[in-house]
Amino acid sequence: MSYRFDFGAVLDRAPELLWASLGTLGLALAGMLLALVIGILGVVARTSKSEIARTPVIVFVEVVRNTPFLVQIFFIYFALPLMGIRLNPTVTAIMALGINGGAYAIEIIRGGVESVSRGQIEAGFALGLHKADVFRLIVLKPALRAIYPSLTSQFIMLTLTTSVCTSIAAYELTSAAQRIESDTFRSFEVYFMVTAIYLVISTMMMGLFALISRHYFNYPTR
């Protein structure tokens, strides 16, 4: 092995890596937020009595979960413009991440909602609350708590999936890495750094999730 490590060239580009990391973080957070909204609204429709509300959600979930993310993002970026919908790479990336994560979130959150006992819902109705209030105020929080570990590991997946957004040249870490690599030819050093940065980002996310959980799920369960 005659390869000589030299991090100098890569460290010169540190600011670029840092900014790109923030890009990754931004895409991940926005994608998660969208996924959460899609997940919750999707579950409302998915668990409704009306077949007209349920069927599209079932189809959506199956389509998204059985096609590659790369194809989904290409579809939004290259195919939608032909139908007059033109989105910039950042918006495309957030949409793709949110839609993809949302489909998984629907299935995860649905499990949580189903874990809430029928008695909770009936107690809400007996008190005169309407369906929307029963879901929002009584069911949602215990449901999210029940599936929080699965939901957050899905969100870590989503965070790492931001690297696929390099394929449409979104502003994020993996694109920056490719750029720096082709300028410096320092493949090992670049990807070593980037691997470390992804680890840091994931760890920070897990810390954030733990913090949210401590504040939002601050009630004891026997």
């Binding site: 007996a126 008190l127 009630y219």
Partner: protein, 253 residues
Amino acid sequence: MLNSAKDHPPLISLEDVQKWYGAFHALKSISLSVRKGEKIVLCGPSGSGKSTLIRCINALETIEEGTIVVEGQVLDGSTKSIDAIRREVGMVFQSFNLFPHMTVLQNCTLAPMRVRGASRTDAERLARKYLERVRILDQAEKYPAQLSGGQQQRVAIARALCMEPKVMLFDEPTSALDPEMVKEVLDTMIGLARDGMTMICVTHEMGFARQVADRVIFMASGEIIEEAEPEVFFKSPKHERTKTFLGEILAHH
């Protein structure tokens, strides 16, 4: 009590109510009327339809035939009639069903604020009043999981009372409790009865029935088999099924 209330229209009336679960006939031609202030104890073997009956009164179950009227409001399945009736009817469940993510106080203020539009201040004042009444005000800031079963059930009673209902329905409120906690809940219910609350209680606590019931109703296989004042009901039941049932219950207690 019975006589003075006689000329008032009934607070609850069920006429010829029929309920099916698919092909299973769960309530067979149930007719029942409950006057203001009356306390009814409903008993019968498992699966006889006691829960189904009281759950029909606040529209947790739908009925196929017959009419249910509460405080002059006909339950016709419309949202308006269901809302109106649930406003007048409080319910206490066997499994308490307190909301685990809300404190005792929040459990009690939720419905007054969301359903009746009460301000937080008013809702909390009301909640404290009823928590005081079930003797659990000191636990107001705790979460349900931090309370014993008996305490949870008393909170559930307070929570229902916060909507200031005209009628309280109880579905086996003490059967999920450890024996040593049964009394505190029954005492709370006896207190409510003394204060003149109209009550329908599904329970096998025959001591409670003797002490507070104006009428004891015995159900079996979806039908009302027999009803009488407690004295008569326990001393000289008419039907064979009632006798058998009482024999079993009293042997247990």
